[in-house]
Symmetry: C2
Subunit: 272 residues, 2 copies
């Protein structure tokens, strides 16, 4: 079975003239594969669509993308599908000349192996020095300009730290390097506003919806480190980890609470 | 003659697992080729070195880069050399595992054709809506995360507008989409501070040095659109255009003044 399809063909190399390589001029999605199927396809495609609209890239045909995804995922019981769409090939220079054909790259990776205790006992987080710059034009979408995340993730090697929390240039908490963050205060759920920077995760959206179904009040709100210090619970989410409670942020300890546990169970039940 | 060398080999495709493609995790330089030689090599390599240090990428051996550049530039009377260095191949995920070997991509392009009047009579500029986010960790260097420039350059199609001026999220003027900006007030030269965002151009540095040699006072200073409205002269610089006076910014007109003219002549004399 091929593990990479570039514009529908088994290949490993993309033109260095592709604007994805030249400028990070594109978008990506990371999907979980279960039982030969990419999970939450519609949600990932909706975010991809939003990103394409924001960057004025013509999104490749959905039926074609799905056929290529199915071809790659067939027979894979558990794995990861990375789907990348770029503006396509262009000459040198930022200006888009003519109507380039967007490139699509689908690649399958092994499922990540996480310690089971991350989900049950929670994880340790640190606060990163690397900040997120604010740019509403790029906020929310999963574009290919990821140097801030790369630099933030390079700040620590300690394997007992599972994730780093990133603040924006004005000291607001935004997200983890690879996850969204939630906290619980007075029984209500809070997660940062992502209108200036940050990636709006598919699992973040699912958690907000599940919270509503459970009768939990859920707020998007600007927050700082002081707000987290007063949280009763904290947890992080993404497509691959689902939900991990936070048991420690820097020197502060948190309990694995009932809200995180219920939401994780709800996520898993929906995925079963 | 080959027009692209990837890690020393004639090729056109880079692995989609290269972190340059995955995350824009790398840097580039755009050099002018004249008489078979890349111009201002040391200055471009110094900026590349700074970028590599900032991103913790091991810069490829300079002798090797120069040999590859010479191989590509041989016999080219006038052209453009684009030199890209990325962190190299990595698996999925922001964390850098092990010690990836940086990738080097050298590509030759035709010399751009600009109207001669751009240099003599000046150009029209617009002010872009797309802003530059502030992140000191990425400021000054020429990294591959260029979506802000791509979006800004996509704002206009009018070919009589040569460049768009970009402001940061706090209304400071920073640069053009592909150039640095200078203005003259009371006989002194001013150019924006690039400590929060923006690219520190090789020609910008040269202009600052030439200004000093001419006895002109040159300042790096935060400035806004109101400051430009009071300027006696304005001009933009980059490696390929050298220096173009600005004759119009939105509705405001400027004269092609003596400072821009002298500095352009000095740049050309040094390049002759």
């Amino acid at each position: 079975l091929p593990s990479i399809l570039i514009n529908g063909c088994e290949a490993t190399g993309i033109s260095v003239l592709d604007r994805g390589f030249q400028y990070g001029d594109g978008l990506f999605e990371t999907l979980r594969i279960r039982s030969g199927q990419p999970r939450h396809w519609s949600r990932h495609l909706a975010r991809l669509q939003l990103g394409c609209e924001r960057l004025h890239i013509a999104r490749p045909d959905v039926t074609l993308l799905r056929a290529e995804a199915d071809r790659l995922c067939a027979g894979i019981d558990d794995g990861v599908l990375k789907l990348t769409v770029t503006r396509g090939e262009g000459g040198r220079g930022y200006a888009v000349r003519g109507k380039p054909t967007p490139s699509r790259v689908l690649a399958v990776f092994a499922a990540p192996e996480f310690p089971a205790a991350h989900a049950s006992e929670g994880v340790r987080l640190r606060v990163c020095d690397t900040r997120l710059g604010c740019n509403p034009a790029l906020a929310g979408i999963k574009h290919l300009n990821r140097l801030e995340q790369v630099l933030a993730r390079a700040e620590w090697q300690d394997e007992t730290i599972a994730e780093g929390l990133m603040l924006d240039s004005e000291n607001r908490i935004i997200e983890g390097t690879m996850s969204n963050i939630f906290c619980v205060r007075d029984g209500a759920l809070y997660t940062p506003v992502l209108s200036r920077c940050g990636v709006r995760g598919v699992t973040r959206d699912r958690v907000m919806e599940l919270a509503g179904q459970m009768g939990l009040t859920a707020h998007e709100q600007d927050m700082g480190l002081a707000d987290l210090a007063q949280a009763e619970e904290m947890f992080i989410t993404n497509t691959l980890i689902s939900l991990w409670p936070v048991r420690q942020l820097e020197d502060r300890h948190y309990a694995v609470g009932p809200v995180a546990t219920r939401l994780r169970q709800a996520l898993e039940a929906a995925d079963a």
